[in-house]
Amino acid sequence: MKNFRDIERLSSFLDGQLSPADSARLEARLATDPELASAFNDLRAARGILRKLPSRKAPRNFTLTRQMVGLKPPLPRSYSFFRLSTAFATILLTLTFAVNLVTPRLSYVGPINTGWGGGYGGGPAAPALMEALPATEAPLAAPAAEMMPQPTLTADSVATELPTAKGMATPSELLDQPPALSQPSAAAPLETQSRTQSQPPIPFIWQMILLAAGILSGLTAFLLRRSASQKWK
């Protein structure tokens, strides 16, 4: 057995990969070294056998289809515009719903808190606070307004709250007055609240316009894509 360096040289010589000088040297050695010549013959035989391996025909065609390589049909330029406008209209529509839903709730939180404050603070303060506040839901605000005067209608509280009011009714007179006296001032803001509440910040017509725009552009994009893929097929 020759060393691997010789085998490598013989293998390269077999493929004509040695320089002319190296080839000449190796040929001279092959003529005088039977072991080297035997190794060379074996390598040549191994290569010859490999070259005799029958070449097989491909069992089928390997041609590719567009689906195989994930090619998509060429879409018209307007397709991306319609797709974008569909997405834009959908986002805007969602935003309008969100704004209309969230805005009344935010204003609803205020009166309840101030209502309790007004109740503890005394009857006359409550209507003023209610007027100062933005519109709110009537059914929820009304019980709050009703609750406000009642805690104040005790003899003790009236006596402590209004001791310095000059020219006003005495506590006993106040007790005689029905609680409804303080209600007209609170009822007026409640009516305006109900009116303003029926109109959301973003009108319904805008939502309908956005919805129509979204559906139309989405449909157009779908049809464009479909016709492009049908043409492509």
């Binding site: 691997f4 490598e8 390269s12 035989a45 290569r47 070449s55 097989r56 065609n61 390997f62 390589v69």
Partner: protein
């Protein structure tokens, strides 16, 4: 076939141009995969995978030998398959004799031009060579398949295997040495014309 023009057209995404190249190279690609993997079904899958991969990355082809570039794709697909096999070893579905010897599948008996004796001889040879190829490490097998089976020159083999020319020379020498040893074990099985002693020229 105007190969450079077809390549350029395929690089612009033209599938028909690429398919013309596929038809031209599919036998070479399939044979390479078959000799590296030693299994027709796996070779078919690897060849298909190689062509898909080649189409997707044809824009990266920067000239030179397209065949070598394609061979690199197919050898990569074969290595992937070999790695998969290593992770999930499978048992062949070939029927076995009572002694546990694998019975040749009908694909070995496909050539109608040979007499039964010649066919048997050819089958034996092919089986023996494939067995010896399977015994080689995958990188040696790739070198010997590309150089000796496909007849590619050293530069092309080096480009396909993405290794220096010297490495290819060394791998080829080692692979031939091991093949020589392996084929010696099959000498009595091989027909006389294929015996190592009988090979005086190539």
């Amino acid at each position: 076939m105007d190969e450079p023009a077809l390549i350029q057209t395929a690089q612009r995404g033209d599938l028909d141009a690429f398919n013309t190249l596929v038809l031209h190279y599919q036998d070479t690609v399939f044979n390479t995969a078959l000799r590296i993997l030693g299994d027709e079904d796996l070779a078919e899958d690897a060849a298909q995978e190689a062509f898909i991969s080649a189409f997707r990355s044809i824009h990266t082809f920067r000239g030179g030998s397209f065949k070598a570039w394609l061979m690199r794709t197919v050898t990569n697909a074969c290595y992937d398959e070999l790695r998969r096999q290593k992770r999930r070893p499978t048992t062949p579905l070939e029927p076995e004799t009572h002694d546990g010897e694998e019975v040749d599948s009908p694909r070995w008996l496909a050539d109608p031009n040979l007499t039964p004796d010649q066919q048997f001889e050819a089958d034996e040879l092919e089986h023996a060579i494939q067995h010896c190829l399977d015994m080689l490490p995958s990188e040696f097998r790739t070198a010997v398949v590309l150089a000796d089976v496909q007849g590619m020159d050293y530069t092309e083999v080096a480009a396909a295997a993405r290794v220096p020319l010297g490495t290819i020379k060394s791998r080829l020498a080692r692979a031939r040495l091991r093949l020589r040893e392996c084929l010696r074990g099959f000498e009595e099985l091989l027909p006389s014309t294929f015996r190592l002693e009988g090979e005086s020229n190539s």
